[in-house]
């Protein structure tokens, strides 16, 4: 039987290469796209899954409920909590602090950056990650220990045999020597440490001086806990409110505590690491979060690509079933049973699906590296998964493609078929099925195209939308380590002296800030007091000229106004400071217009601040995130230094790369032991857009594949219809139809299901994209243009697909056409 099936398939391929080729190529394309996107979805779903004991691992998150600001969860917590957590909850087996950072190696004056983490010696007790070299319990035990990823070891030394080798690291502007005490083994499944290249212990100075270790009002680090039993996590979660009340409470004068009722503003949450990939999408400052809906949509797109390809195959198979009617009739006349024929046609369909499946796997091998480069994920073809999925696809596709034609073909009555002048086409039922399948195919393809257009438009919009300051000609440097007033003054002077620099200034915030400082401010409105939680920034002279924000009311800071300069910390309770607010802060305080805020006094603790100006909101963070209400202070550098100021430079007339080199040289003249990293705003902010951009590329790929598959189907049907309708067209022409009328008739027939699919696709795409756009604080408006472009594109492609066949048919000579039967 198999030999018969194989022979029949080979004969079909020889006799009807177009149909079989279209069928097989379309199916292979669908299988290839499906496998590739399935691998991508599987990759996302497997995030953290291979971490040992992942069901017992949690991250401690903070939930802030601050006045004037929507409550929200932050991926991080105060390091201060860890010893108390260990003490209060015996259910915790181990805990470690972790801070994502960037460490720089220094070799002969050349700095190289590594994605790194500072952590505790207990790290490997929590995360049982395997070491290629070194002992987990000793790797981070010494203050100068250093654990490298195998990738970093090779990057630094060209080998992974690096135990005991030394690395000079720049930490807070000081060069210190670390000894390699461990090399991480490579892991094939992605997790939250996949990108980490180096790990070093916290320094004792960090632990005794940094705000994050000392104060409850911080969320700058990560605490990871390993529970003894997974079932204990929820029980401990329920007791964290009491924990906060016990430990975070303190007198108002205690700057490290959170007042007498900390639970009103501050809460701790336990975020399970096994669920982190998708949960973190809704958590602030969680870098690895991915929108589950988007990932599911990508998976759905793969499934739809496969469904489209199957629909094509079914469509062509049913259309062509009639062409084999005579063969079936003769076989039946010669004694073949219906069952024999059913098995043969199903066998043929499965064999075609098998060949297409193998071709699809080859396509997947080609696509995966491309998709990996598009998405930036370490995607590889996993044959374990493919080995399970591919046979299933072959069987399902083969069955789907074979069942209808098999039933139709094996059901033909030989006498009727042999007596008929024309080949049966399956009747109006089959024609309706074919139209329905084409409608479905194009409906799906057009929906995906509209989504692709909207996603790409939104991505471009995010990159180009007005951020409230002038991006071009602006370069931002690294935060200056230390609090050296003289060095800070020198740095500004040195940067301003660089040829091509218009001016330079400091701010404690910059696009994509590492740390943020927030405080609660209140205003005594006539209608009653109002408190707002404000993001605090301190800026230097020239900051306004560097960033060029829009001034909405009042004036900008002026060094000539004595009260503009921020009073030193010890004077703060007794002095007024002049401040500038952004538009968001002004509206939160309840001012109807920016100019109404000018001259008003707001207070924080004992400090009073007079509003002298209002600027438009400046976007420094993700466009998905609402812009913080902000208060800006002024520091002339006359009396006090900044805390880790971030230099910003406005330049002109110089190529950006050259300017970066000049600025880095100027920086090195002041701080030779610390690397500078001047970069453009777009480069700094790219991390906020890259996820959506990557997904936009995947949608573009999916949309192209879907359209191609749909067009293959339409082309196949057009070719079939062209062959079938030759006679009909002959009759029409005999009755006086012109070539143009025939073209119009055929195009109308071919495009009718496409038109219907547009009607169905537009509302679906509108609903889906409206929900997706709702996740952005700054977003485009869905306009008819998105839909019209997709619809026009689909029509244009559909017309191009069938035009050749249509013209060929319309130009057939009537007499020849009438002889075609």
């Amino acid at each position: 039987m198999f030999a018969t099936i194989l022979k029949s398939v080979l004969r079909q391929m020889r006799r009807h290469p177009l149909y079989v080729g279209l069928n097989m190529f379309g199916l292979a394309l669908g299988v290839g796209v499906f496998l590739t996107l399935t691998l991508l979805v599987r990759y996302e779903y497997s995030f953290n899954a291979a971490l040992p004991d992942v069901d017992r691992l949690v991250r401690v998150d903070t939930h802030w409920t601050m006045p004037g600001t929507p409550p929200g969860e932050v991926a991080g917590s105060t390091f201060r909590a860890l010893p108390f957590l260990r003490e209060d909850f015996p259910e915790i087996e181990a805990g470690t602090r972790f801070e994502n950072t960037e460490l720089q190696t220094e070799q002969d004056g050349v700095f190289s950056s590594f994605v790194s983490g500072l952590t505790d010696p207990a790290f490997f007790s929590v995360f049982g990650l395997k070491l290629l070299h070194g002992a987990p319990d000793q790797a981070l035990a010494q203050p100068d220990g250093l654990v490298l990823s195998d990738h970093a070891a090779i990057r630094l030394f060209g080998t992974t045999e690096v135990m005991g080798r030394t690395v000079r690291l720049n930490r807070n502007g000081v060069t210190v020597t670390h000894t390699v005490t461990g090399v991480l083994a490579r892991r094939t499944t992605p997790d939250l440490f996949s990108g980490i290249e180096m790990m070093a212990p916290f320094s004792s100075e960090d632990m005794t001086t940094r705000f994050c270790f000392l104060s409850w009002g911080s969320d700058c680090g990560r605490i990871y806990l390993k529970f003894r039993r997974a079932g204990d996590i929820d029980a401990v979660s329920a007791r964290l409110r009491d924990f906060v009340m016990r430990h975070a409470a303190g007198a108002d004068s205690d700057s490290h505590a959170l007042g007498t009722h900390p639970e009103k503003i501050f809460g701790l949450l336990l975020a399970k690491l096994g669920e982190a990939r998708f949960r973190d999408f809704h958590v602030l400052y969680a870098e690895d979060g991915v929108d589950r809906t988007v990932i599911n949509s990508i998976g759905l797109m793969g499934l739809l690509a496969l469904a489209l390809a199957c629909a094509n195959a079914v469509n062509l198979a049913t259309a062509r079933a009639g062409l084999r009617a005579r063969e079936v009739a003769i076989r039946k006349t010669l004694g073949a049973s219906r069952r024999t024929l059913l098995v043969q046609f199903m066998g043929e369909a499965v064999l075609v699906a098998f060949i297409a499946g193998v071709l699809g796997l080859a396509l997947c091998e080609l696509l995966v590296p491309e998709v990996a480069s598009l998405t930036g994920e370490a995607l590889v073809v996993r044959y374990g998964l493919v080995g399970v999925v591919l046979p299933l696809i072959i069987l399902v596709c083969g069955f789907a493609c074979g069942i209808y034609p098999s039933l139709i073909l094996s059901g033909y009555r030989p006498a009727a078929v042999l007596a008929a002048a024309r080949m049966p086409s399956g009747g109006r039922g089959a024609a309706r099925l074919r139209d329905a399948l084409v409608t479905g195919q194009f409906g799906i393809a057009i929906t995906i195209v509209i989504c692709m257009l909207v996603i790409n438009h939104q991505t471009v919009f995010m990159r180009t939308a007005d951020p409230g300051y002038v991006r071009s000609g602006l370069l931002i440097g690294s935060a200056m380590p230390g609090h050296d007033l003289a060095a800070q003054r020198k740095m500004l002077d040195a940067l301003r002296a660089v040829p091509g620099v218009i001016t330079a200034g400091f701010g404690e915030l910059a696009p994509r800030p590492d740390t943020k400082n927030l405080g609660t401010y209140s205003y005594d409105r006539p209608a009653g007091p109002v408190s707002v939680y404000l993001l605090q920034d301190v800026v230097s002279v020239s900051y306004f000229e560097v960033y060029r924000p829009r001034l909405l009311a009042g004036r900008w800071f002026d060094a000539a106004h004595g009260q503009d300069d921020l009073p030193p910390r010890d004077e703060a309770p007794t002095r007024k400071a002049n401040v500038v607010l952004n538009a968001g802060a002004v509206s939160r305080f309840g001012f109807a217009a920016p100019d109404q805020a000018i001259g008003k006094i707001i207070k924080s603790g004992g400090m009073t601040a007079r509003i002298i100006g209002v600027i438009d909101d400046m976007r420094f963070e993700s466009p998905r995130q609402a812009i913080y209400p902000e208060i800006i202070f002024f520091n002339t550098l006359a009396n006090q230094p900044f805390n880790d100021p971030i230099p910003a430079v406005r330049f002109q007339g110089i190529v950006e790369a050259d300017m970066v080199r000049r600025l880095n040289r100027a920086w090195a003249g002041i701080l030779p032991d610390a690397s500078s990293d001047f970069s453009a705003v777009d480069a700094r902010m790219s991390a906020y857009y890259s996820g959506d951009e990557r997904r936009g590329r995947i949608f573009t790929l999916g949309a192209a594949a879907a359209l191609l598959i749909a067009c293959l189907g339409l082309y196949g049907l057009a070719a079939f219809a062209a062959a079938r309708r030759v006679h009909e067209i002959g009759i029409r022409k005999t009755l006086g139809a012109t070539g143009r009328q025939i073209v119009a008739l055929l195009l109308g027939d071919f495009l009718r299901p496409v038109a219907l699919s547009c009607v169905l696709a537009c509302p679906v795409a509108w609903v889906v994209m409206r929900r997706w756009l709702a996740g952005f604080d700054e977003r485009i408006t869905l306009t008819p243009a998105h839909f019209l472009i997709a619809v026009a594109g689909a029509f244009a492609i559909a017309i191009l697909t069938v035009l050749g066949q249509t013209f060929h048919l319309a130009r057939a000579e009537p007499a020849r056409a009438l002889r075609a039967e």
Binding site: A431, G730, K733, G736, A737, E813, P814, A815, R816, L818
Partner: protein, 227 residues
């Protein structure tokens, strides 16, 4: 003279073979004539009919219809000519399976861009004329051969053409249905229609006013029947 064929030639060329279907045909047909063309299979009857119907082009000679030379016309002009002047009846009926009988008959008028009300009136009249009005909403596959051929005749006459071409109109019909079709054609001729019919049946050829015999692509005899 309604139709004048002069030195009409039709050659078919394939890669290696050249076949002469018609050779130096000279034929004239007056308005109101009923001409039966006879001859053995492959003698060129249908090719001649196709050339008369302008659905095939001669490779030589001239074809004048009502004083208009047709061999020089382009595709669009020929389509217009067919719409306005010709009606066809085929041996295998050539109704479009996907259209109802009513729609099949209406098709010829749609291409004339005739107003819908006028189309409806003419279609109803044509169906009455051939006795298939009760089958208007049926599809061709639901009708007998005789009924399908009557529908095809209705489609041929609905545009009130100057010439009706019938290619073995009784070839697929039994005796009774064949006789009915011939009755209709005779009636149409009596009402003034010019008819050219290809047939294998001598008895049906005898019902025409003139008989043209063909052999090997040439007209060998053209005689008037004594009626």
């Amino acid at each position: 003279m309604l139709i004048s064929l002069s030195h009409i030639q039709r050659l078919y060329r394939s890669d290696e073979v050249e076949t002469t279907a018609l050779l130096d045909i000279e034929l004239g047909i007056e308005a109101g004539e009923f001409v039966a063309i006879m001859g053995p299979s492959g003698c060129g009857k249908s090719t001649l009919l196709n050339i008369l119907g302008t659905i095939d082009r001669p490779t030589g000679g001239s074809y004048s219809f009502g004083g208009q030379e047709l061999t020089e016309l382009g595709e669009a002009a020929l389509a217009a000519f067919r719409r306005e002047n010709l009606g066809y009846v085929f041996q295998s009926f050539n109704l479009i399976d996907e259209l109802t009988i009513e729609e099949n008959i209406e098709l010829a008028l749609i291409y004339r861009r005739m107003p819908k009300a006028e189309r409806r009136r003419r279609v109803a009249h044509a169906m009455d004329h051939v006795g298939i009005a009760h089958r208007a909403r049926h599809y061709p596959s639901q009708l007998s051969g005789g009924q399908q051929q009557r529908a095809a005749i209705a489609r041929a006459i609905v545009g009130e053409p100057r010439l009706i071409l019938a290619d073995e109109p009784t070839g697929n019909l039994d005796t009774e249905n064949g006789a009915q079709v011939m009755d209709i054609l005779q009636r149409l001729n009596d009402e003034g229609a010019t008819i050219v019919m290809v047939t294998h049946s001598p008895s049906h050829a005898d019902l025409a006013k003139r008989r043209v015999d063909m052999l090997d692509g040439q007209v060998v005899i053209s005689v008037r029947n004594a009626i």
